[in-house]
């Protein structure tokens, strides 16, 4: 039963490709379902902003060509998919000679660094708090204190980020207001840079950790309570095992499993939330690229960043899905 079979792995990998395919199809078609094409809406936005655009007809024609908007829709779509396969995301409209992929190659490591650290910390803290809340034998004093930490965590990422900037960067001046590393620090594998990068990452990471802890704790609490009345726990108690052993090895171990599914599920929203945190801190990751794309009306950049975010999230989900059956033998993947 269960376990990691060859067929399961194959299915998951196929699912990964299908996911990326559907995702990129959505970002290709939905904007084209909207009335008007992107180029003319871009022009009209420019007009709204600066009042008048010179040679708008020529700009439209040139951009149409660059977007590949001149052929029939299916032809555009096939060309688009072919480009994605080779990770060719085109040129950035505003920083012309630079390709979108170049910009992303610079931004992605920052996002991966910030997100992985913040997510892992939040997962550990949140689940521990939730497990203790759902556990009958947790000391009462602790149970009275813990919910308060959770109530504060129902504040969204970016709102807490604004508050943190105001208090710790603007008010107390303990941390930098923005950026990924200090001015005058050269990027590379030197201690100065690492120190500066970590220092700049503290506030954004804190915003993500504090705010996403609550979700984990809430889910974990529910699962712990379900596990609490399972027969194997009664047996464990009857055997006279130490409470700490019952808590960690019997209850938490079982309750934690669905949390891994939840991790795969919430990755998308964590990525979305961190987009805003990066934008607020001017942190040089994907979120900031996104914002630059929005401000500069850089559609190829927006679409490229969106595609890479979809792909990396799908990749992370694939990894979690591959680990999951190793952890939970109760779920059987065989067809019955």
């Amino acid at each position: 039963m269960g376990g990691l079979t060859k067929g399961y792995v194959l299915r998951r990998v196929l699912m990964f490709f299908l996911t990326v395919f559907i995702g990129s199809t959505i970002i290709f078609f939905i904007p084209r379902l909207a009335p008007g094409d992107p180029v003319s809406s871009m022009i009209s936005r420019m007009m709204a902003q600066s009042g008048y655009v010179e040679n708008s007809a020529e700009i439209i024609a040139a951009w149409r060509l660059r977007f590949g908007l001149d052929g029939p829709l299916w032809e555009q779509y096939l060309k688009y998919l072919g480009n994605l396969l080779t990770l060719d995301l085109g040129y950035s409209l505003t920083n012309f000679p630079v390709t979108v992929m170049d910009l992303i190659r610079r931004g992605l490591p920052w996002t991966l660094f910030l997100l992985s650290i913040a997510t892992i910390l939040a997962f550990i803290f949140g689940n521990t708090i939730g497990a203790m809340l759902g556990w009958r034998r947790t000391p009462k004093a602790m149970k009275a204190v813990l919910p308060f930490t959770l109530t504060f965590t129902s504040i969204p990422f970016f709102m807490l980020a604004i508050l943190l900037i105001y208090v710790f960067a603007f008010g107390l001046k303990w941390f930098p207001v923005s950026g990924g590393y200090g001015r005058g620090v050269t990027m590379g594998l030197n201690w100065e840079f690492i120190k500066s990068a970590l220092y700049h990452a503290i506030l954004p990471a804190l915003a993500i950790v504090i705010t996403s802890m609550g979700g984990w704790a809430l889910g974990m609490r529910g699962m712990m309570i379900s596990v609490d009345s399972e027969d194997f726990l009664i047996l464990a108690q009857a055997k006279g095992l130490k409470p700490a052993r019952i808590f960690w090895r019997y209850a938490v171990r079982n309750a934690l499993l669905p949390q891994f599914t939840a991790l795969a599920l919430t990755l998308g929203s964590i990525v979305g939330g961190s987009t805003l945190v990066e934008y607020l801190f001017a942190y040089p990751g994907m979120g900031y690229l996104f914002y630059q794309g929005i401000v500069n009306q850089d559609y190829t950049l927006i679409q490229g960043v969106s595609f890479i975010l979809i792909t990396t999230t799908a990749l992370a989900v694939l990894l979690i899905d591959l680990v999951y059956p190793l952890l939970d033998p109760r779920i059987t993947y065989q067809k019955r």
């Binding site: 299908l18 395919f21 129902s154 599914t261 998308g268 929203s269 939330g273 929005i294 779920i331």
Partner: protein, 311 residues
Amino acid sequence: MATSTSAQTGNIDNLSTASKGLSLNRFDSPWLNPKFVAGCILLLIVLLMSLLGPLVYDTTKARVASSPLNLPPMWMEGGSPAHPFGTESNGRDMLAVIITGAPRSLQVGIIAAVIGMSVGVVLGSLAGYMGGWVDGVIRTLSDAIITIPALAVLIVIAAYVKNFELNTMAFILALFAWPAPTRLVRAQVLSLRERGYVRMARLSGVPPLEIMLKEMAPNMLPWLAASLSGNISGAILASASLEALGLGPTRIPTLGMTIYYAIKAAAIIRGMWWWWGFPILTLVIIFVGLFLVATGLDEIANPRLRGASSS
């Protein structure tokens, strides 16, 4: 259904409290759960403010250039009683902005979450219980959409579409609100159907629909309640995030839009905390209210939970 659950609830409560040697007041209604009540009060405050606010306060002051610029709240030096929460750099009165903005946020959140949740529960139990190709199709779809960071796609859409209506936004958000409940319900059903009592019911020839409703649904209720409330916050958050990036309905001053203007005008490092502080506070009251309602509902729906908590 409701009566049978509450009867059961009473029994189990009796057992658990009796075993702990505590007394149980039989007139205690589970609906008087302190968290649930506190959450409802918070949400009611926001609701009342947005319903009664326009009657007692001049909301036309939410328009640009209707008030003096950059006034701090009235209790600070330089504040004026005519603008209790102060004004921002475009001449909007903050209190008026909040009164008109708050109901928009609630509206978007509730529409998107209710659609998403209903679709999710139906598809999730179908997929989990039926298995086979039904499961395959539903899972493939939800898998694909769930792993897509909704905000990333919404940004792409909003960047193309010029005029974003509030309800359009809600429907687009709903597009991304159903896969989460679908997948979690499915996982629960998958896990539940391996349990002894469900196998027993299946072996005794109970029809699938009855197993889902009678054996599985009550076990998923606490989780579903929390999830719905979480979904509402999620949708409100997504719309506010989009607005905070400067994308979204521009005609009405929504809370997220106000935050966007504040960020753009560097209100954070200018010390104008009331500009971003009040919209955020309003949203946080909504989020905390929803959170408390979710936990409260959990405890009301799930007797085991009340057994575990000391209250």
